[in-house]
Symmetry: C2
């Protein structure tokens, strides 16, 4: 690196795989001038079926990897890692750490009218109870109904997001939640917005869907603004992508997550 000017620090974003690119995309749209650096831990994906100890270990190594590259903020763009590892990372890192759970919980609390909120996520996210705690801390009167949806991630990764099979899978998971009369449903996994259509069909038109990606991007903007950490240079920020396995597959599947706006051509392999 000698002879090169040190780079301005980036906003570091990590997820177990490509799902967190939905969060990356919202941040990039909100803050085109910020440098962004994304790490997908595709060698160890998924996190959602693994234990708290293992997820914390993996989250620490992803954070350490991004730290080395110079970040001024860390975004944990994975619900399971946010649920299990956010406190640990916040305590250990010298930069602000933003997860996806708190912003999603805040949006749900502000939008529900009936006080009945549904949360769907991976088995890990649901088992952690993180959304239940986050919502109770904001308004203990709200009743939260949680449901793990383990087949949603494989369906999205297979590109199978419409038609009778995804609808039947969604009905199996969501019919009980719909029967509870929830009026707000948190999509507590970064893959789930890609199943928004079938989820909305099963839940019915009266239920608002909360997409944590959008809410997290808002929290990133607010935190950087409040701490006067926004980049002042008006030129577009750089975009860096890293994956711990199969960078070509990451680029191909990830392009879907980014909605075609940000080119996803150069993905570098890293050993986490």
């Amino acid at each position: 690196m000698s002879g090169r000017r040190p780079q301005e620090p980036a906003i570091g974003v990590f997820d177990s795989g490509v799902g967190g690119l939905t969060v990356f995309r919202r941040i990039a749209e909100a803050l085109p001038g910020e440098h962004l650096c994304y790490l997908g831990d595709t060698a160890r994906v998924p996190y959602g079926t693994k234990s708290a100890d293992t997820v914390i270990r993996y989250a620490r190594s992803c954070a350490a990897h991004l730290q080395v590259r110079g970040v001024k903020m860390l975004v944990v763009a994975c619900n399971t890692a946010s649920a299990y590892a956010l406190d640990v990372l916040s305590a250990e890192l010298p930069v602000p750490v933003i997860g996806v759970v708190a912003p999603g919980a805040r949006a749900a609390v502000s939008r529900t009218r009936t006080g009945r909120v549904g949360v769907i996520g991976t088995p890990g996210t649901v088992a952690s109870g993180a959304y239940v705690r986050a919502i109770a801390a904001l308004n203990p009167a709200i009743r939260v109904y949680s449901q793990a949806c383990p087949l949603f991630v494989p369906l999205v990764e297979d590109g199978w997001t419409t038609g009778s099979v995804p609808e039947a899978v969604a009905a199996r998971y969501l019919d009980k939640l719909a029967a509870k009369g929830v009026d707000t449903l948190v999509l507590g996994c970064t893959h789930y917005p890609l199943l928004r259509g079938v989820i909305a069909n099963v839940m019915g038109p009266g239920v608002r869907l909360v997409d944590s990606a959008k809410e997290t991007a808002k929290a990133v903007v607010e935190t950087l603004r409040d701490r006067r950490m926004l980049r002042t240079d008006t030129r577009p920020g750089r975009r860096e992508f890293y994956a711990s396995d199969a960078p070509e597959t990451f680029a191909r599947v990830g392009a879907r997550m980014l909605g075609g706006r940000t080119p996803l051509t150069q993905v570098e392999w890293v050993d986490v």
Copy 2:
């Protein structure tokens, strides 16, 4: 370990998770007097969607872990690891190494009458071309049709193995194979025998299903017999289980794979 008598060596078996227990079960049934030691790499499961380099790295670390515990033979009870890593492990280890691909290929070649064989597996197993090569080496006149079935593993792990949704998923993957007129179908993933019912329904009664678990157990017996490595003691062998994440979940899901015969009470966590 000082003061303890060195243990007799076991047959070491590993897989990315619980799936290889279907192979373990067949070996235990065929050789009740042998010591058996199983490692499920649940911290990094699945292998089937990961790259060759990563799968080889993981297979090496699983093999090293079992080596330390003293094994006289290594069984790679995972199709993806067999497809990518068997040559490497065979070259590097001082004990016989048996994979699941060659036994499955041999059974398919001996059973087909039309010379048209189907192979289903994970994306990794199919991309490796290992079954195509193994069958061609035995009989180059046989035509092999391969199909990746990425949702089968999540369905089995979710316990969702009967009914209209698994049948619709199976139809999506298998209709093309059925149309090719295959008369033999290799279940090229250790999870797939649990979907045997829906697979048989979609393929029709004229198609024989090859279960690699049974065939691999036969290969283990033959190899040990030929090399005069069978244990002569008539007392039942010991059974050891290790998992790299969530040993309780491993025990619960694994019990299904073992068919309730072998108790799966003590599973030790190991850091691979």
